[in-house]
């Protein structure tokens, strides 16, 4: 069965069980449970890195592990650790299930990136959806939380149904659910042109995955969930699960349907353009920062889809790098949103922040500038790298649209800066000193500039893993 290839996941599962037991013995001890979780994650990370170069197939051909999947793991681990750090300051009191859900979603994401069987993917997707549901609804007594989790749940179930249909149809066509076997059969069939049955399978699977990455038109859950869920959880959702979604899209389309790009590449091209424009244009109107970042995350999904279209080796590397840099940007922004509090996330609440807390305003400005994609920040270099892969395959218009969208997005990102620096406060907002939130903020800033100015090291790691 080759169990050792999933050692990190097994460690995480044991930690998850442990967390539940601790919660049972000493309930509601936020920092203690959290620290145990972090230790478990660090242990898993250690094993993950020590086995970085080991490749193998296991669990009856359901799971395939290689260095490339482990680069995605890095994104998931960073997201989980940052979320736990944020939770220490953000939540006053919380049940230990919160950490349990973090761990299960982490496991689900890691398995997603590693599974090569459609059923395994479906199982991981479901685990992920339910864990995230738990995270979104963790503050059940709060306003809008019920709406957010209900919306997420219904749409997740809906999209899963489509995905399952897709799997069933795939099985009808290929008599297998294993991605590499699909690829072999497709290649061996010598099929040319577009077969209706194939198109339907691709589209159905795509619908299921488009929900996860919040691509148009399956983005409807994003704004409401972002507004209702606790800020740290939102940051987590927009980083890791999204990266997992892209990992699986890459895997299915590039490994499974590689020999027939005509089946999916133009679908992704349209999806990418629509998603960028829709996300950015919708964000222009919003006056709530969390909602705005929800639309911005849709736009960013559009940028990443540009790389999916180009479907080359560089696209893999670009997407990992993009998600890594996006994780830091989004956690940075949400660390500051957490400091001001969820109920103070309207643009007006940020007015005059540069005077009341200059450091926070300065950092927020950096996060916004990075999200816009201005050079010296990681936001630029990651976007550049993503579009580079599209330029390589001559998708010039996608590149132009992508950069034009950068200009559009400048309007709403910089509007935050306008409020912070160019408007005056109506009421003084006393922001207490949060050590953990601040540390996340500093980590994010340091990595944004590190990745933005000296990306070479990380590029090397990612490219060597390909």
């Amino acid at each position: 069965m080759n169990a050792h290839i999933l050692l990190p996941e097994i460690i995480l599962s044991i930690t998850a069980a442990l967390v539940l037991i601790i919660e049972f013995l000493t309930p509601r001890r936020l920092q203690f449970t959290g620290t145990v979780t972090i230790l478990g994650i660090l242990l898993a990370l250690f094993y993950d890195l020590s086995m970085f170069r080991n490749a193998g197939v296991g669990f009856f051909g359901m799971v395939k592990v290689g260095p490339f999947d482990r680069t995605f793991d890095l994104v998931f681990f960073i997201g989980a650790i940052l979320l736990i750090l944020l939770s220490f300051d953000y939540f006053v009191e919380i049940s230990g299930e919160f950490y349990f859900f973090i761990l299960t979603s982490l496991i689900a994401m890691m398995l997603l990136a590693k599974s090569i069987d459609l059923f395994m993917i479906f199982l991981s997707l479901e685990t992920l959806s339910f864990s995230l549901l738990g995270l979104i609804g963790i503050l059940k007594q709060k306003e809008f939380v019920a709406e957010a989790s209900m919306k997420y749940y219904l749409l997740a179930a809906f999209s899963s149904a489509f995905f399952l249909f897709g799997i069933v149809l795939t099985y009808v066509v290929f008599q297998t659910t294993n991605i590499s076997e699909i690829s072999n059969k497709l290649f061996a069939s010598g099929l040319t042109g577009i077969k209706p049955a194939l198109i339907v399978t691709v589209v159905l699977i795509l619908v299921g995955l488009a929900f996860k990455v919040a691509a148009i038109p399956f983005h409807m859950w994003t704004p409401d969930v972002y507004e209702g869920a606790p800020a740290p959880v939102v940051a987590f959702i927009s980083a890791g699960p999204k990266a997992a979604g892209f990992a699986i899209i890459l895997k299915i389309m590039l490994n499974g349907y590689q020999s027939h790009p005509e089946l999916w590449s133009s679908i992704f091209a349209y999806l990418a353009v629509l998603t960028m424009f829709w996300g950015n244009l919708a964000a222009l109107k919003t006056r709530n920062l969390k909602r705005m970042l929800a639309y911005s995350t849709i736009a960013h999904a559009g940028y990443v889809l540009v790389a999916v279209v180009s479907a080359n080796q560089q696209a893999y590397a670009a997407i990992v790098f993009y998600m890594l840099s996006y994780t830091f940007m989004v956690f940075g922004a949400f660390s500051i949103i957490s400091m001001l509090g969820d109920s103070h996330s309207n643009l007006e609440d940020y007015a005059g922040l540069s005077r009341t807390s200059p450091i926070l305003a300065f950092m927020m400005a950096i996060f916004m500038i990075s999200l816009t994609g201005i050079p010296t920040t990681s936001g630029f270099i990651s976007k550049f790298y993503v579009f580079m892969s599209a330029a390589k395959t001559n998708h010039i218009w996608l590149v132009v649209f992508g950069f034009i969208n950068g200009a559009i997005s400048a309007y709403y990102y910089l509007r935050v800066v306008v409020f912070m620096y160019m408007m005056d406060t109506r009421e003084e907002l006393a922001i207490p000193y949060f050590p953990f939130l601040r540390s996340v903020m500093w980590i994010a800033v340091i990595f944004i500039f590190y990745l933005g100015l000296f990306p070479q090291k990380v590029f090397e790691i990612i490219i060597s893993a390909l």
């Binding site: 540069s354 590149v399 950069f403 400048a410 990306p455």
Partner: protein, 517 residues
Amino acid sequence: MKLDLLSLVIFFPVIGAIPIFFMSPKNKKMLFDYTLLITLIEFLFSLFLLKDFKFSLYGFQHEHIYQWIPAIGASYHIGIDGMSLILILLTTFLTALGILSSYNYITHKAKEYVIVMLLMETGMIGVFASLDLLLFYLFWELMLIPMYFLIGIWGHERRVYAAFKFVIYTMAGSALLITGILVLYFYNHQQTGIYTFDLLKLYRLNVPYGLAKKLFLAFAIAFAIKVPIFPFHTWLPDAHVEAPTAGSVLLAGVLLKMGIYGFLRFAFPLFPAAALHYAPFFMALGIIGIIYGAFMSWVQKDLKKLVAYSSVAHLGFIVLGIFTFNMYGTQGAIIQMVNHGLSTGALFFIVGMLYERRHTRLIEEFGGLAKVMPVFSTIFGIVMLSSIGLPGLNGFIGEFLVMLGAFKATKVAAFFAVLGIIFAAVYMLTMFQRVVFLKVKEKNLGLPDISLREFFVLAPILVFIFWIGVYPKPYLKMTEPSAHAVIYQIKSAQNADRLKELIKPNEMVSINRRNAR
């Protein structure tokens, strides 16, 4: 890794900005004193660049390459020739004066102000010094943010609108630029098998005519927005008027030059044949800019807006100059870049000084300043004449050379350019008359004459206005190789075109084969 002088010049302002973070925002005087010191040292450093600079040498000097992102072939490749050097000197010069002029002008957020100014200085110098397309783009976009803050925080009433307009215009232009860079990058890889953003390596590339035309347009639109060339100019009056004095000075003095510099350094040498193809079009746009700018200036009631539109006219001259593709035109354009930086910069300083005194910029509010502020009015007069292009002052040299070049290229262009000069005299003299002469308004009676600090802002500019006007030779000599290099590139493309017409296709193949050997 040893720090070289050019890198020091690029990054010294940022390094100098670090201690400011730990200074008290209350002590405004100390903040400005310190920043002034930094910018003066920076100016000194940039003068050191002159020390072992060989004026007669072609190619780049102070050239350095360090690895930056080898994974995608981007390197930290810097170097300067005469044209970049003169623009770097202009930058460090105007930034120092800008700081000196801001002591009283900036009333709030002084700490942020000086940091932003220093950050911007690094960006501007970086643009002129980078020889790697990605590095260039990095500095080019980096500039946006400080300028955005400068307009948006310390600007006038409609500052937020102007700041947004500036950023979004430039970013939209940059979208085409970066796409063009990427296409060029992959074309180069296709031809040579190397991934590189290195400008000097890309110079060797012979881009096919069809692709070159597209790429030239992509580059040209980005640069045209920055210049700005006529239909893309609408951001400029807003940005200029709303920006604080030092911001306007740097905007006019340096930022607009980045567009022209982009043409001369990137668009022309990379796609010479395409540049030739589009030259008549851009010359026409330049002429439209000259006439349009002049007329718009004429009707302005706001002093600063008048100067802003006069910039459009001046830049029209420069655009005309670079597209003549001869020595006169190109050299004239380069020297005119410096002149425009000096005289328009000085005009913005002067308008700023008037604004500090009266808190208005409306022309009709002034009048008779010659009696109240004699020294100020004299300096104003000299600067105004230099902007018109009076012989003996710097403006004349540039405009005359451009005109000569235009005359050699097409006589029609020269005719319209002359008209532009006449119009310039009209609007400038009218404005000057209404502000400085006529009867003294009561409100203006008590205005103090120029202060010592203000005098030290304007006096250095005056020195150069006279120096370039009377003895321009060192400046022309400095930029001659750069101008010559650009023209050489264009001319060889022109000759290649002629060869194609003269020689039949099959002969062409044999010639190519011989060359390949």
